[in-house]
Amino acid sequence: MSGAHQHIGRPVPPRHHDRLVRGHGRFLADLRAAGVLYATLVRSPLAHARIVGFDASAARSDPRCALVLGPDDLAERTAPIPTAWRLPGQPEDRIPIAAHTARYAGQPLGIVVADTPTAAEDLAEAVRLDLDPLPPAATLADALAEHAPPIVPGAAGNEAGSIRLGSPEEDVAAAFARAELVVEREFTLPRVNPSPLEPRGVLAEYDPGTGLLTVHAGSQSPHSMRQDLCAVLGMRADRVRVIAPDIGGSFGSKVVLYPDEAMVCAAAVALGAAVRWVESRAENFDGAYQGRGQRTTARLAVGHEGRFLAFDAHILADLGAYATQAGSGPHQVTALTLQGPYHVDAAAATVTGVYTTRVPTGAYRGYGMQEAAFIRERLIEEAARELDVPALELRLRNLIRPEELPHTTHTGLTYDSGDYGAALRRAATLAERPPPSDPPWVRRGTAVVAAVEITAFAPSALLETFGIAWSGWEGVRLRINHDGTVTAYSGVIAVGQGIETSLAQIAAEGLGVPLDWVRVELGDTDTAPHSDLSAQASRALTLAGGALLIAARRLADRMRTLAAGFLGTDPDRVTQRIGSRADPSSPDAAFHGTDGARITWREVAHRGYRGWGNRKDTDRIRLEEAVDFDPPQITFAHGAHAAEVTVDVGTGRVTVTGYWAVHDSGVLVNPLIAHGQIAGGIAQGLGQALSEEARADAEGVPVTRSFREYAVPAAQDVPEDLVIEHTCTPSTAIPGGFKGLGEGGTLLPPAAVTCAVAAAVPEIAHTLTSLPLTPSRVRAALRAAGITAEGGLR
């Protein structure tokens, strides 16, 4: 008996768009702050060096200088950042802020604060660093070499610990012993830069009078940033407030507190002032945590009639100079998700973390699942080629069928619902089209690949089992105000994905009210419910949305009960009728009794706030519900992607000529937003497939430091006619049936494109194990196989 609104499932344009197209966004650099000072970080130019001296006397004597903090000052003022997810045997469980050894080029060693940005830059350059160079170890091979320099002081070598996940050894061995075919390859997934268009930034203000530190930061997770700041600065949680303004993209690169951000906050505390730091693009390339960075040896055992028997992998994870808060987390997720949507008798993977003298790696959209999909789908494609059976047929033969769900994988993940075959077949059908006639130097190929996706990484007990020092639950507060309007508070963050709109749709649906009555308030640790993981891991909509749906239904019931009291009847004899354009006080926004009596929504809210009505002492008064939702399990989305590519065998250039994606994220709250998330994810995945690689020189110093050296996809790099479809298998774990989709689009493009190139040029298929497929890399493989534009074929 709620209102007749249907907000869930409507493609409503996101509500933040209007102000953004007008230029009225409020990003970090846009915020006004009276008397603000400006910070520049002093960064190491060398990849590995002992810091002998940090002489800031020239900078300090300049009248424009407000403060310089060098390594010794930072050691006095900060504690290291705690980590949350570690490998067994990891030799270092804290992230140093005060460094006496530089472990990567770009590492912040100190901070300079001055009255203008230019002065801060000038004075940072005036700091004289005395560095005693140490040998770099910029690659996995260098770091693991016999006489490699130890990167973590006091550690025995550069291994950062190891873990084996999945089936018992004997099961893996037995499965490989039964195999009729074993395909083994070594895969390299290079480091990439998440590259949000807005770099990182912090505006920290310390008020010595109240002892309050207020931090505005482009953070995907303000609550966890606050917790880490408390640990670093030795401050109480009630004295630290973190607020996320508009955020210009994040993609995982803004989920944790960085040492440079902590230095800005330490400077604000030291000065009792407001200090702003806005990262430059080059700093973002050098210093923002990178994604991927993995070299993996993996094998697939295939038995009789093409049945998959086992996956096994050894993942060497390039953690960089130190393990971040989540450290090897992405690589452990690769191990957890290697099995994908297929039946096997055994699946296991070892993750070995390795320190290198490069910037640390961390979360990036796809978080280990993309790597798993690439490894798995390439192995399958290679098996199909060796068996001479169509790859699609081989995949379909081994897929987990919908009637077999729930299904628990060998790494203990329980897939709740889905129809993997339907998505795969649909993507294959979409990609079927008559091949155009290509010139002789052009080869064309198509491939279809599949993945299952962890969304809503929870419950908290699961994180506890993994030893991850974070929670997975999500809380909301939903309030009907005295005038009948509605305010929802959540700990998830808007990073451009449109979550404030989707959450408003869910609240409006549960309450049965028009969408524009609902405001969603996010991003301020003083008002938002606690959230450790917030807007990451494809969880915001599922977990906050699930909680909000519960809260909205409870409040709707309370409103009807209140209305019944005022109307002198029973709640189940009351009907809520609210016009789609009504405001809360209009006659067409009312509760109706059976006798023609009615009371407006606003009046019910208003009287409710007065505590009027036939109220029992035990009844709650405030029209507000707080709901904490910790789901019973992870909910699994899934998808299949098809790519058609052409390969110019003269130049080695790969062009994606068609791309089709079929996703299942359960019940879609906003199909327009869902489409946008998948499309954007595909583009990022295509960038990784074809062009993106964060490179360093032989000394370990980054050489990709602008959008010229590091090619994120431009418009011409993404097919004009992306086809994206959704099937709907509702989640059985989440109220509303929602599943996540923030990362789904990113998971499959590298696998789809690479398998399509393999189909186009089978002669080089076995070599297609490293990304990105740049023209020079593909051309080298073609030449090695004797394929040229002139010769066509060998």
Binding site: T118, G249, G681, F707, A714, V718
Partner: protein, 154 residues
């Protein structure tokens, strides 16, 4: 380094402010004139977030010095609709979800305003603009809508 007085007509209003001779036009607009709609995404002219019209022609304002704009006319994203009705291009971007985080959007809005009625191709408009969120899909749908197409399949 010296300070000079820079007078520009920005979005139809004459503004006179001091600027260092090394200050970029983007920073002058943002800091000196408090027009923070123009965003700096790279500072090297690669991303296009800072595009404004200088005497009617699109430029990356991170590559122009404030002093070079002295005596000239500038249009920024704030001036495209002013406080009033959105343009067709802005409405199309909203309706087709042609933005997500919106950081790159100001430059694109200015570029689309410049392209309106000039008949340039989709590729012409998108050249020089990086968007990391949308995969250009919603932007293309908006451009198709503007050129009379349906706006796409969504």
């Amino acid at each position: 380094m010296s300070v000079r007085t820079v007078t520009v007509r920005v979005n139809g209003v004459v503004r006179t402010e001091d600027a260092w001779d090394h200050t970029t036009l983007a920073e002058h607009l943002r800091t000196g004139l408090r027009l923070t709609g123009t965003h700096v995404g790279c500072g090297t002219g690669d991303c296009g977030a800072c595009v404004v019209l200088l005497d009617g022609e699109p430029v990356c304002s991170c590559l122009v010095l404030a002093v070079q704009a002295d005596g000239r006319e500038i249009s920024t994203v704030e001036g495209v609709a002013g406080g009033g009705d959105l343009t067709r291009a802005q409405r199309a971007l909203i309706e087709e979800h042609g933005l997500q985080c919106g950081f790159c959007t100001p430059g694109l809005v200015v570029r689309m305003a410049h392209a309106a009625g000039r008949g340039g191709s989709e590729a012409d408009v998108l050249a020089g603009h990086l968007c990391r969120c949308t995969g250009y899909d919603g932007i293309r749908a908006a451009l198709r809508k503007l050129s009379g197409g349906s706006g796409g399949d969504r």
